[in-house]
């Protein structure tokens, strides 16, 4: 379950679950995170999950590296498969040259037709491996090998809010406009930063995600509903 535990300064611990980005290593991260949450250990300030690692930030006045280590030593006995319950999200995307400025480039580089890109991107069920880079940005994988692509060597100066991008074997969505290097193939009209939610972001690490291709009309309809605050989120959380 745990590959390595190391100190990260005086008030944090880094737990690593493997040396490769894949579903299994990331599920271990999510599992260890919920294990520690359920134990309600006093003095834990934050649990920050990434692809294959979890950072435990603690208050050294309330707990210690050694104490956390001994709590974690009980984790082997737990059954990972029965514990993980992830939310399932379906995300509408308009794959179109107006919303996906890198579609043409990707079609050339990967020798694919637009319909094939859409087919390949909407086919898999992705896992949100981690959040970061921008507040609310979900790193998801793994994308189909035929869609594997490099980041732009010079990042684009402005990537629009909601842009859906590819980088290596991963896919992600920009929660806000920002400079960025991912290859943009479409746009999601649903806002990722949502003040009305308890944790104000659409995605959580560990979520299962599928993409659904939508028409320009549907895209504009959702945009309008988002503007009027009438969009029903239950369409997303199936």
């Amino acid at each position: 379950m745990i590959e390595r535990i190391s100190a990260y300064g005086n008030s944090a611990m880094l737990i690593e679950t493997g040396l490769e980005i894949n579903r299994e290593n990331n599920e271990k991260v999510q599992f260890i995170k919920s294990f520690l949450q359920n134990k309600q250990v006093e003095g834990i300030r934050a649990l920050i999950p990434a692809y294959t690692s979890l950072c435990v930030v603690f208050d050294p006045l309330q707990t210690s590296f050694e104490n956390l280590q001994s709590i974690l030593s009980n984790i082997l006995a737990e059954d990972i498969s029965s514990k993980i319950q992830s939310r399932k999200l379906t995300i509408p995307v308009l794959y179109d040259h107006s919303t996906g400025p890198d579609l043409t480039l990707l079609m050339q580089e990967n020798k694919l037709k637009l319909e094939e890109i859409i087919e390949l991107h909407t086919q898999p069920s992705y896992q949100v491996f981690m959040m970061g880079f921008l507040a609310g940005f979900p790193y998801m994988g793994l994308s189909h090998t035929k869609l594997t692509t490099k980041r732009h060597s010079t990042p684009r100066k402005r990537v629009e809010t909601g842009s859906v991008g590819l980088a290596n074997n991963q896919t992600g969505i920009y929660p806000s406009a920002s400079p960025g290097g991912w290859k943009i193939i479409g746009q999601c009209p649903v806002k990722l930063v949502r003040e009305e939610l308890e944790t104000p972001f659409l995605f959580h690490a560990g979520d299962e995600v599928k993409f659904r291709a939508i028409t320009k009309e549907e895209f504009e309809e959702i945009q309008k509903e988002e503007k009027n605050k009438t969009f029903d989120l239950s369409q997303i959380y199936a």
Binding site: N10, L14, E16, I48, P49, V57, M131
Partner: protein
């Protein structure tokens, strides 16, 4: 609605409101934020009788110009600026009574890089008409929380560390990825004097001087905390600061404690620092 306590007449290089760092949303990629030099910020709050983490102004190298719209009490700590209330020179590390209508201006930054201006009661975080997240601009209005029966006496008794402005030795602890680096490389790092690059900001300090052409083949992005020293493929060191991203793809070779982060936060572009590996 409270009446504004002050207005920004000139923004200065980078003036922002900083409060208590928050871990609450860090797992979603929201930076912790907070004062770059937490001791100086706490000291300013202590002088005006605020809880030590109360939101206050952080000023960087070129100070702002501020007009006070009400009578109030302030304190200025951290970097040593030439500082004037109307025409009169005022001093850091003191409680200052401000009459309504007066204007605070800053001249040369003599030592350090960041100063903290605390208002009695503490500032409220998000109120400005022209608010760009983090950075205040000309015309912004500042709101202060109402002053409650002061806990000043209690707060006065708290002992605080000092940030040393002219210290250039930064003590580094081993980071979680130090095992990726061999002892020869570490020996090399110990001999180098680094220079603070001009792009350094609240997200990261960039240190030049290392000429290291070592970078692990594959490094998987992993959580990062303020204080972390990353080695980048170009051989420079990034010291992550309070607004840093929450995950990063460079190996974490070292980490600074709170004391050392405060110390580094007072270095300005062009300053030289030595890293002492603990």
């Amino acid at each position: 609605m409270h009446k504004p306590i002050a207005q920004i007449l000139k923004a200065g290089l980078f003036t922002s409101i900083q409060g208590s760092p928050s871990f609450e949303l860090v797992e979603f990629g929201v930076p912790l934020t907070g004062p770059m030099d937490s001791y100086s910020a706490q000291k300013a709050n202590k002088l005006v009788g605020n809880p030590l983490q109360s939101p206050l102004l952080e000023l960087t190298l070129t100070g702002p110009q501020i007009k006070f719209l009400r009578d109030c009490k302030i304190a200025l700590c951290g970097a040593h600026f030439e500082c004037f209330l109307d025409e009169k020179l005022i001093y850091t590390n003191e409680l200052i009574e401000i009459p309504k209508g007066s204007v605070l201006s800053f001249g040369t930054c003599i030592a350090g890089c960041r100063a903290y201006l605390a208002f009695e009661g503490g500032l409220l975080k998000s109120i400005n008409t022209n608010f760009i997240p983090g950075q205040l601009i000309k015309g912004d209005l500042l709101l202060a929380a109402p002053v409650t029966t002061s806990s000043l006496e209690k707060i006065k008794s708290i002992a605080l560390e000092e940030t040393v402005m002219d210290k250039n030795e930064i003590i580094v602890q081993a980071g979680p990825d130090i095992s990726l680096f061999d002892s020869e490389l570490m020996q090399q790092l110990k001999k180098i004097s680094f220079r603070v690059d001009a792009v350094s900001n609240r997200m990261a300090y960039v240190l030049h001087g290392a000429d290291i052409d070592f970078f692990p083949d594959s490094f998987i992005s992993s959580p990062t905390l303020p204080g972390t020293i990353q080695l980048t493929p170009s051989g420079q060191l990034n010291v992550l600061m309070r607004d840093c991203q929450t995950v990063g793809g460079y190996p974490r070779i070292g980490i600074l404690d709170e004391d050392m982060m405060n110390c580094l936060a007072q270095k300005k572009p062009g300053d030289d620092v030595r890293l002492i590996w603990n």
